[in-house]
């Protein structure tokens, strides 16, 4: 057994340390950025989920289109009786844009100042 331990080389330690370091690497990145996330759902099903900082145009169902731009979600197209959602914006965690007739909801997730929100 001792002779086997003697076959250990410097390179082995290097490999082990490298593997451990590479294993822990992602932890540093994920902890650094608790960035807000934009979520869009249709009929309760999530169809879009990405960092709020990413600009995107999302078609939600057949009647609505949302735009995520400059850290803000807004509804840019909606075929519904009232068109209320067209004036809504969601910027901070907890805020939402909702089109009730077409059952579409978009909101911002992330570390906000609010512990919880009830509607």
């Amino acid at each position: 057994m001792r002779s086997i331990l003697r076959s250990l080389r410097v390179g082995d330690a290097v490999v082990v340390v490298l593997a451990l370091a590479l294993a822990l690497l992602p932890l540093f990145f994920t902890q650094a950025g608790e960035r807000p996330i934009a979520v869009i759902s249709v009929d309760g099903e999530t169809i879009y989920r990405a960092p709020l900082s990413e600009n995107a145009m999302v078609q939600a169902g057949s009647k609505n289109a949302l735009m995520i731009r400059g850290g803000e979600i807004s509804m840019i197209e909606a075929q519904c009786p009232d068109g209320l959602c067209l004036g809504m914006h969601a910027k901070k965690p907890g805020e939402s844009v909702i089109c009730l007739p077409n059952r579409i909801a978009a909101w911002v997730e992330g570390e906000g100042e609010l512990d919880g929100v009830s509607y």
């Binding site: 086997i4 390179g11 082995d12 490999v15 294993a23």
Partner: protein, 173 residues
């Protein structure tokens, strides 16, 4: 064991034996209950055969062995889709192990089979995870850190087994 005047036939025979060993170990390991429930990890003892092939037969034979085991292993285990995972993991891990073995042969004091085995284990996990991300989406990356961490003790253990096996073979023959 084998003198320097190895014929191809004797190498081929030993390759066949090692392949059988790898597949058997692979199958037996598949029968064991999971080491960590909820985490798709195995010890990877079949890699003992690949390490032995690398050490005693050379890269080309080790590559052949790896290819055979990555295709046949999942088929025997009953999950053809698993071949995608094992081929990806097997290819990456083989590349890493060959690279370290080249270093080992150039400067024998620099690294041992322990290091080769740990590198193999790490890259095997990584290769499988890449397929996981491709098939199941980025959520699969959640497995990365625990899998990569566990590849260190698993690799050390498998390396120890390989070194023991090679010593025993040298004593016996």
């Amino acid at each position: 064991m084998a003198s320097r005047t190895d014929t191809n036939a004797s190498k081929l025979t030993r390759l066949a034996l090692l392949t059988a060993l790898a597949l058997t170990l692979n199958y037996l390991e598949g029968l064991m209950p999971p080491l960590f429930p909820g985490l798709p990890v195995k010890l990877g003892v079949a890699n003992v055969a690949v390490l032995i092939a690398l050490e005693l037969l050379g890269y080309r034979y080790a590559a052949l062995l790896q290819l055979t085991r990555c295709i046949l292993g999942p088929l025997i285990g009953g999950s053809p889709v698993g071949a995608l995972y094992s081929l990806s993991g097997g290819a990456l891990s083989l590349l890493a192990m060959c690279a370290l073995c080249a270093l080992k042969q150039k400067r024998s004091a620099s690294v041992s089979l322990f290091g080769v085995s740990v590198a193999g284990a790490y890259f095997h996990s990584l290769g499988q995870l890449l397929i996981g991300v491709a098939l199941a989406g980025p959520a699969a990356m959640a497995y990365y850190t625990p899998m990569a961490l566990l590849s260190v003790p698993a690799g050390l253990f498998v390396g120890l087994l390989a070194i023991l096996a090679i010593r025993i073979e040298k004593v016996v023959s």
